[in-house]
Symmetry: C2
Subunit: 346 residues, 2 copies
DNA sequence: CTGAAAGCGCTTACAG
DNA sequence: CTGAAAGCGCTTACAG
């Protein structure tokens, strides 16, 4: 069924030149006279010839493929944020003529899974990779970097010894938290609680520390009863509030959630308990999730631009792939407050 | 920086065997004595050796990669449905040890774009591809199939002459529409309108024809003023209703939307016009979008299982890749009514 | 059971 | 400006 594959020697024969010349026109070498180039191009187009990618890579070209690794235990398919990121990366790299091999890691502690990820790098299927959602200092990512692979990591601590093949991308979560606390303070809140994210990810502790610092700056007391555990997922926000309310202790007037998903869950739990947002309690999120605007109530949040981050990250990554240099690259993006209707003045 | 890459001759040398033998243990040939296998495996593991994928492919192995092509003019990143599909395919194929190269096609009429897609096939980056969201009989996909590539297509008409390398996957939209009309009829509706999808996609006309047939079956008259144009996107649902209401003509008591996104848009337009759903008008969607359940009101819809479809499709696709056969494969999945709160009895 | 050798389809110094 | 040749790292008949 499949048409006999045509290759460069066939093209060479048909064009009356050598394979070397065919290769030269394909790779846009300067020293090919226009006449020759034209002649060869005509045959190439006529026969719908495209050089075999594996042969090119084996002969020293790049795979022009980057790996996109999403660490996400179970929740990926429903999270629009992840979707945005996948699409962002695909479109960003395609502008450079690159492809993306997307991989989902359900359990980063599973040996088999880790082996598969490493395999992708070692097999040279990709020229570099981006990891999103990993625990801070995830060992196997560190290994990959130590091995010399070009890796972009989102939400990871900078290493003590900077490495030129590690590109770190973060948001200024510290500043984001300050904005959140300052905003609430401005509305008159003094009793502010927080639902934390996953403390194994860098943004977990970073946001919490930012919260503590911001509270101090505003001269507010942190009530440890109002510091709730979470994990960046909606369910964790729900559960945090659910079990908090069961205790029937004193309540904060405002809650800062580690991200918008957590805020959604928290609000759901509050509603179920008969508490209105923002009438009875104010809630502020983080990320500006696609659904936050349409949420009831529309969620006040700290906006973060993942698309912009990934655009910068992929650009640097591909730059490093094409031209490995010793300079250390890292990016930090600012966050900004988006006021909607989930917080009220007290 | 990068550790000297180790290759099979090096492994062979270290294990005291020939490259042939190394290859044999890697490829699990039967005729390797356990002792030898063990010896070689030890070296392989010790040196963290993974065979170079390009070399393997060039030597005749499969790329173990399938292409996932999403045709989606602009709206991809916000549509959770697309996300679900991407993730589904990735996870489905990874169960077979395959990878996916995801590609987004913004404009299938752009020559450059089409060339890029073809290139991916001709370069042998992938063993086969899946197209989602394409116009029915999209010419370049037909070309690819004619060329002999193994292709899975969602929502496409079966060809007159069946081809073994074309795998067609559809939902039984006809039955879905019948269920929708029958349900509304059961609630006492006789004045039923419809917002169509993109008529260039198979499901556009199929759903509409299903609607017409179902109306006839139920002995109902189709009012052409209530047949509105759309395109499967929310905005089109909004616009369809918006301009319909401006005309101030007679109104249907129920509307069937080509999919849930369209229904969301339609409901938004109705609300803006001061009409309540389902009090003033009933609306039923199609797909059972992830947001339909949380919508206000929760949307009654015809459920369709994309994950199941893609699971079957990828399974057949990979089967064909590994063992090309002449049998023609196609799948059709049933739809089912999900009753929620967007339709009322009249 | 195992090795030597050919071959997969390219690219790129090298020589002219 | 251009061709012959080596090399990329594998796999797989072939022969023993």
């Amino acid at each position: 069924m499949k048409k006999a594959d045509i290759n460069s020697v066939e093209i060479a024969r048909l064009a009356g030149v050598s394979r070397s010349t065919v290769s030269r026109v394909i790779n846009n070498y300067a020293n090919v006279p226009p006449k020759t180039r034209e002649k060869v191009m005509k045959v190439i187009q006529q026969y719908n010839y495209f050089p075999n990618a594996s042969a090119q890579v084996l002969a020293g070209k790049r795979a022009r493929t980057i790996g996109l690794f999403l660490i996400a235990p179970g929740h990926v398919s429903s999270d629009m944020l992840v979707n945005r990121m996948i699409v962002s990366v695909i479109e960003d790299v395609s502008a450079y003529g690159y492809y993306v091999l997307t991989h989902i890691i359900r359990d980063a502690s599973d040996q088999e899974t880790v082996r598969n990820v490493k395999e992708i790098f070692f097999q040279r299927r990709i020229d570099g990779g981006i990891f999103i959602g990993a625990a801070n200092r995830e060992p196997f990512i560190e290994e990959l970097i130590a091995e010399g692979f070009i890796v972009g990591v989102v939400d990871q601590q900078h290493p003590e010894i900077p490495q030129s093949n590690r590109i770190v991308a973060n948001f200024n979560n510290d500043s984001g938290m300050k904005q959140a606390v300052a905003y609430l303070t401005g509305l008159g809140h003094t009793r502010i609680g927080v639902i934390n994210g996953d403390m194994n990810r860098l943004s977990g502790p970073t946001k919490y520390e930012g919260f503590l610092k911001a509270m101090q700056l505003c001269g507010l007391q942190v009530n440890q009863d109002w510091v709730l555990d979470g994990s960046f997922h909606e369910e964790s926000g729900y559960e945090a509030i659910y079990s908090f309310l069961r205790k029937n202790g004193e309540r904060p007037t405002a809650i800062i959630a580690a991200n918008d998903s957590v805020a959604f869950g928290a609000i759901r739990a509050l509603k179920e308990h008969g508490l209105q947002v923002p009438e009875d309690i104010s809630v502020i999120g983080f990320d500006d999730h696609a659904l936050s605007e349409k949420h009831h109530p529309p969620l006040t949040t700290i906006r973060v631009d993942f698309s912009d981050m990934l655009k910068q990250l992929t650009s640097i990554l591909i730059g490093k792939i094409e031209q490995p240099t010793d300079d250390v690259k890292q990016i930090t993006l600012e966050c900004s407050l988006v006021v909607r209707d989930s917080c009220r003045r007290v």
